[in-house]
Amino acid sequence: MIKGLIFEVRRFCVNDGPGIRTTVFFKGCPLSCWWCHNPESQDFKSETSIRNLILAGERFQRTEITGTFMSVDEVLKEIAQDQMFYDESGGGVTVSGGEPLMQGPFLSGLLKACKQKGIHTALDTSGYAAPGTFDSIADLPDLFLYDLKLMDSELHKHYTGVSNQSILRNLAALFKKKKNVILRVPIIPGITDTPENIRLMKDFIRSLTTGSMMQTEIHLLPYHSLAKEKYMRFCKQNKLEELPDLKKEDLIPLKAEFESIGGMVSIGG
């Protein structure tokens, strides 16, 4: 049976789509964004790290393995535990990562299994996938949480490690198919919030929505440095170590900008 490499199944997630949700974090990502706040999600293999447990002032070290292979049924069993909460809140499952699209067959198996159980699904994705792979799963999730980071391909490559060509193409395909999409824009000072990038992004969004009566939902995600400790624990280089956090208030002017193109904008998830 096909298994997926999962690094966490987190219950009661309230910032990753509507209602109360369980988020399944896939491990492995082709991108390596400078601002990545789940650095443990990047490698396509399980990792060991040392965790310090503190008890009565004493330190106890434990080796921790991040990333286990799970079958669809195993994941589904954990998901189903909160079914009543989904029902009551209009919630469901969010598949996140890492980049779930990199484990296409498992992802599709999981999404289908959820659908069969009547559980709402959201896919939190960078959109980076070969068009063929992408199109094959595009009809499965009920909702896409789709990252839009940098419009300039070179800059995109510089800051995330990959070109944005397929990302923009796949997003356009979703709009064409009239899928439910929430655009998620990480606001990283000096990187994604430049006037040029914002202008290009607005133009692009406008081009996607031309002729549509639907309002595009846009979430602006302010940069935070909460992952600092994780970078150290997993011995990963944190390129934005010195960058201070943004406050929600800092994003108010940007919110207005995106609203000017008819977006339904909120700050945070």
Binding site: Q81, L226, K228
Partner: protein
């Protein structure tokens, strides 16, 4: 908030808790006069109340709209020497302890030394009880297996129903006469007892009317005296207000209330008499206040004699009265087990009407406004949420909860109704019920539901692991259930535990039945019996089983701790065999000294209750079933039935202090888990998992369970999170959860989390697409979050 309320609220907050000897002194005078020896006990108790009400100082606070204080001044707290006598040492402790102190001046000590103690020593009801209880009871009590509420307070825990809003005391006296006329001295062997009880009730009913008239006289005198010419800037009563208040006191409680204002004043007089007659444990309160007052509110509004603003001001003045009345101070161990000022008067809002339809009304919302604005410790408040309650009612409550004030708590009406009906109550009585105190289910106005004491479920495991021996008091107080080293399976251990629980539950129940009879025979409460149906019709006292329903509860404490401990034994000793039973017990007896590494495994790497994992939660269910069958259904001394509920107040701290180290990694003396909440830090899968675990025990077969949930303040931001919390509550209630309370984590708590991460494994920082535990953040970031938290709360 009007200037008047600002002033009253400030005066109440400024008043200092202190012991008043007024009541103790009057009671002593009365008993010393010998008057008590000429009449039956019920009549004597009614005359005692009358004597107090006739001679006590009348306190009228400047500007207040509801009059009446139990003591001579706000926060002047009465004592009850006929129930329990404070020693000089007790008074000194009360005076000097840093937390929850009651000031005691030299004059008070003198009166106690010269008058109260000499008369009452050896004669109080507590003395009578302690003499009557067998040594096995004392041994278990001293070991901290259970506590006893009635050793220093009267049986209480009842809540007023709707009776007083339709009947004046004169109507009630008519009913007493009717009951009197039915006495059958030929066929009824209890006719004499009934006669004396009914006589006592009539005296009590007349006493409250007399007391209200004294207030009316005093108010009129004030209105006509020159002393009330105040400068305009000072908050004071106008002459008209004083005369109005006097009129109100003439009309209620003698007659049924005619207005909103009269309804409140009537209740308040009743409240005062209930808590003056004896010191019932505890929480007497008006119950379904929005339901009781709504007809008066709409009628007065319609007539144009009341505005919404005036109603709010009256309610706020009413709120101040509760805050003026701290709980009677306790002595000895009881002060440890429940060291709070409050008497847990829990106002209920919402719920369902007698016909089962949604009861949320305009007043429910007005009361929530009052609670938000007053922010007082007392009265406490709760919302009853039924499946029919509108979401906006829950949203309104959550907007108050998120300010971090701990009120209102959320209750499941549908569960409460089922709990009461399972106990055999009529559906209308069940729908008129609610929860009082912390979380205790009751049929308001028709039930005596007496809390008898906390029961230390965790300590009993310690005793089981020592073959019935208590390492604390160094006595064999339990059964010999075998050396645990010889147990071959986890089931054998559970069987031994079950035998010990039954053994101690029997001791407790036998004690309850001694104490119950002593209260029935020696300490009747004819006044309270006026208020609770069907005491008058039955001609029987509230303390003697006169109420329509009589229930005695034992409160299980430490469910999370005992579950985790049993689970750790199952996991490490029987399943994984990482340690032998002997080794485990050695680790516990050493309080984990030289077992630190093993303790870290127990704390961090062992299945725990609260994570929606059956491996651990199965033990919670098993313990619940053992405790339930040991108690539920056993008769009480007054014709009632014993039942269980699961709540600790603050006894989990006391019980922890007398319980040695436990297999869950808890060190000796540390607090136990509270209510049905997981042990602090044991849950790490978020609130949905906690709720699922907590719902695995059968709440419907309890009389209340208590579940606390912590949230960081940032979580409550925005309407969306309020909606999600609403869904969380609704789902828990769909699973028959009885109660949930949300606590907003403060900056201080987060600081504590930095020091004791093991207690805060459940603190999760939630940001879109990311989630991590507070414990896993570096110190700088933790400090940053603490700074932000301080910013958001006030």
């Amino acid at each position: 908030m009007t200037d008047r309320i600002k002033f009253l609220r400030e005066q109440s907050l400024k008043a200092i808790n202190h012991i008043s000897t007024e009541r103790a002194s009057l009671v002593t005078d009365f008993y010393q006069s010998g008057a008590d020896r000429e009449v039956s006990i019920p009549v004597m108790r009614a005359l005692t109340l009358r004597y107090i009400l006739m001679h006590k100082h009348l306190c009228i606070n400047q500007g207040e709209l509801i009059v009446g204080e139990r003591g001579p001044a706000p926060k002047a707290v009465s004592t009850y020497p006929e129930i329990t006598v404070h020693s000089i040492r007790d008074l000194e402790i009360l005076d000097s302890r840093p937390k929850v102190s009651y000031k005691v001046d030299e004059e008070t000590k003198k009166i106690y030394r010269e008058k109260i103690i000499p008369y009452w020593q050896g004669k109080s009801n507590r003395d009578r009880i302690m003499r009557a209880l067998p040594s096995e009871w004392h041994d278990a009590y001293n070991a901290g297996i259970f506590t006893e509420f009635q050793e220093q307070r009267g049986p209480g825990h009842t809540v007023g129903g709707n009776k007083i809003y339709g009947e004046g005391m004169l109507d009630i006296i008519d009913n007493i006469h009717k009951s009197y006329a039915q006495l059958d001295f030929i066929n009824d062997p209890y006719a004499y007892e009934k006669q004396e009880e009914l006589k006592a009730m009539e005296i009590a009913a007349n006493a409250i009317i007399m007391f209200a008239n004294r207030y009316a006289d005093e108010l009129e005198a004030l209105a006509h005296s020159s002393a009330i010419r105040h400068p305009a800037s000072v908050i004071h009563h106008t002459k008209e207000e004083l005369l109005d208040l006097a009129n109100i006191c003439r009309n209620v409680p003698a007659h049924a209330p005619a207005t909103f204002h009269e309804a409140l004043q009537y209740y308040w007089f009743v409240h005062l008499c209930v808590i003056t007659e004896v010191n019932p444990w505890d929480s007497f309160n008006p119950g379904r206040l929005d339901q009781h007052l709504y007809p008066f509110y709409t009628k007065d509004l319609h007539k144009g004699t009341l505005t919404k603003e005036k109603a709010v001001e009256l309610l706020q003045s009413f709120w101040v009265k509760f805050n003026n009345h701290p709980a009677p101070p306790k002595i000895g161990v009881t002060a440890l087990e429940s060291n709070t000022y409050t008497d847990f008067a829990l106002i209920n809002m919402g719920g369902v009407k007698p016909d089962g339809s949604d009861a949320v009304n305009e007043l429910s919302f007005i009361l929530l406004d009052v609670i938000e604005e007053m922010r007082l410790l007392q009265p406490s408040s709760m919302v009853q949420i039924s499946k029919k309650s509108p979401d906006n009612f829950i949203h309104r409550a959550l907007k108050i909860i998120k300010t971090g004030f701990g009120q209102p708590s959320c209750f499941n009406t549908d569960a409460i109704v089922q709990e009461l009906m399972r106990q055999g109550k009529d559906v209308v009585d069940a729908r008129n019920g609610g929860a009082s105190g912390c979380v205790e289910t009751g049929a308001f106005g028709t039930e005596a539901y007496i809390l008898s004491g906390y029961f230390n479920l965790t300590k009993i495991l310690e005793i089981t692991l020592h073959d019935g021996f208590d390492p604390g008091t160094e006595k064999q107080i339990g059964l010999h259930t075998g050396n645990p080293d010889s147990f071959h399976s986890f089931d054998e251990l559970m069987e031994a535990y079950s035998q010990q629980v039954n053994h101690f539950a029997d001791i407790k129940i036998k004690g309850n039945n001694v104490i119950g009879r002593i209260f029935a025979d020696y300490m009747p409460v004819p006044f309270l019996s006026l208020i609770i149906d069907d005491c008058i019709a039955n001609g029987r006292d509230y303390n003697a089983g006169g109420a329509r329903y009589n229930t005695t509860y034992i409160q299980g404490v430490g469910l999370g701790s005992v579950t985790d401990s049993l689970t750790a034994l199952k996991y490490h000793v029987f399943d994984k065999k990482t340690i032998g039973m002997g080794g485990m017990i050695r680790a516990l007896d050493n309080n984990f000294k030289d077992f630190e590494e093993f303790r870290a495994e127990l704390v961090y790497n062992t299945p725990k209750y609260g994570n929606d994992e059956d491996y651990a939660d199965d033990q919670a269910k098993a313990v619940f079933e053992i405790f339930y069958s040991a108690v539920n259904g056993k008769p009480t001394a007054v014709g009632g039935i014993h039942r269980i509920n699961m709540l600790p107040t603050t006894s989990h701290v006391y019980f922890g202090s007398v319980t040695g180290a436990t297999p869950d990694g808890r060190q000796s003396g540390q607090p136990l888990s509270e209510g049905i909440s997981p042990f602090q830090g044991a849950d790490h899968k978020g609130p949905t998992a906690v709720l699922k675990s907590a719902a695995k025990i059968d709440h419907i077969r309890t009389g209340g369970t208590l579940l606390n949930q912590k949230f960081s303040p940032g979580f409550f931001d925005g309407d969306e999170s309020i909606r999600k919390l609403t869904s969380l509550i609704r789902t828990y209630f769909r699973m028959d959860g009885h109660h949930i309370q949300f606590n907003v984590v403060s900056a201080d708590t987060l600081r504590d989390a930095q020091k004791h991460p093991e207690k805060y494994r459940d603190l999760i920082v939630r940001v879109a697409g990311y989630s991590d535990y507070f414990n896993d953040l570096g110190e700088d970031l933790q400090n940053e979050i603490i700074r932000r938290t301080e910013h958001q709360t006030f």
